[in-house]
């Protein structure tokens, strides 16, 4: 910008000088002859031109340096802003994912708890049913055993007596018992043997 302005100024100055010289030429050519041209030559000599070049070069370098500095600052600012932006985006993303993860873990935990509770309930139901069944079977077995004992009590007691005293039973002690039973059945015995006789 600065350079362009300087160039424009210089070009404008040169054009003005040319126009002035032309005017002077047109108006006083006849008066001055080639004196203006020599004056221009005297002003715009090589040193002047070199000076102008140096100044332009310096100005150009200054402009380049300033532009480079501004560019560097702009780049630093931009990179800093980008870093901040990326950081914020990543942080936000991470937070979202963490929240989702926590939520999914919570959901999984709830599902597991629910499943365990259902399993416990089912096990409890089965335990109650099994307990009732076992109690019923035990009661039935008890009843069956009692009925069996009741039905075969005489045999059981008889067997018990046999096992306890076996052949130590003395028939002499039973004579009275046997004679009493024979007395009860006396009529039937006599009837049978007399009928055959």
């Amino acid at each position: 910008m600065g350079l362009a302005a300087a160039v424009i100024i210089i070009i404008g100055l040169v054009v003005w000088m040319l126009l002035t010289m032309m005017k002077l030429k047109n108006s006083g050519q006849s008066l001055l002859g080639d004196a203006p041209e020599k004056a221009v030559e005297a002003i715009f000599d090589n040193d002047f031109r070199e000076e102008l070049r140096n100044r332009g070069r310096l100005h150009f370098e200054k402009i380049i340096t300033d532009s480079a500095m501004f560019l560097q600052q702009d780049l630093r600012l931009t990179s800093s802003q980008m870093a901040e932006h990326i950081k914020s985006v990543i942080t936000s993303k991470l937070q979202d994912e963490i929240v989702k993860y926590v939520q999914s873990v919570e959901d999984a935990k709830n599902v597991a708890i629910e499943a365990i509770e259902k399993t416990n309930a089912a096990i409890d139901e089965q335990r109650k049913a099994l307990s009732a069944q076992i109690q019923a079977e035990v009661a039935a077995e008890k009843t069956r055993a009692i009925n069996e004992f009741s039905a075969h009590m005489a045999e059981i007691v008889n067997h018990y007596i046999l096992m306890s005293i076996g052949n130590q039973i003395d028939l002499s002690d039973q004579l009275e018992f046997i004679l009493a039973d024979l007395e009860k059945n006396k009529k039937d015995i006599i009837e049978d043997i007399t009928h055959v006789g």
């Binding site: 008889n158 039937d188 043997i193």
Partner: protein, 171 residues
């Protein structure tokens, strides 16, 4: 002793048909021996201690003289009639009865059932106590098991009474 088998008696030591048959055989053999002696006009040398205790007891019970041929004949006929017609009762006991026991039992039978009752005794170890009695057409279960069966309700009532006593709160 007459031909009526009701008036001839059997000793209590003779209880089974086998013993009656043995008596009959012994008496028959003795009869032959004595008859041979008589044919030879010799006095038979038969002493009472030569005969079995059962035959001795039988002769004594019935007042028979073995040397008298008529009485021998009567006795033989009597024993034959007993073998053929005497009622036989089959008894099954858990153990072998003693001779004293069988003597008492047969005495009761001959006093209450028939004077010439005979017994056949068998073993049935599973009886425990009591006996089985079998006549020609009937059997009589006189075992302990049957008595327990008959009195089962009494046992159940006793157990129930005992249960009521044990369930009552102690005062």
């Amino acid at each position: 002793m007459s031909d009526d088998n009701k008036t001839g008696a059997l000793p209590s030591s003779v209880i089974s048909p086998a013993q009656v048959a043995h008596l009959e055989a012994e008496l028959s053999k003795l009869n032959e021996i004595i008859t041979q002696f008589e044919i030879k006009s010799d006095r038979p040398d038969v002493k009472l201690n030569d005969i079995t205790p059962e035959l001795h007891e039988y002769l004594k019970l019935n007042n028979l003289d073995i040397l008298n041929p008529d009485q021998r004949s009567t006795a033989l006929n009597h024993l034959k009639l007993v073998s053929a017609n005497a009622p036989v009762l089959h008894f099954s006991f858990a153990v072998d009865p003693s001779p004293d026991f069988t003597a008492k039992l047969v005495t009761w039978l001959r006093s209450n059932i028939h004077p010439l009752c005979l017994m056949v005794i068998g073993l049935a170890p599973d009886i425990g106590a009591g006996c089985y009695v079998r006549t020609t057409n009937k059997s009589f279960d006189l075992t302990l098991k049957t008595r327990l069966d008959v009195n089962r309700q009494n046992l159940i009532n006793s157990i129930k009474d005992l249960n009521k006593i044990s369930l009552k709160p102690s005062e």
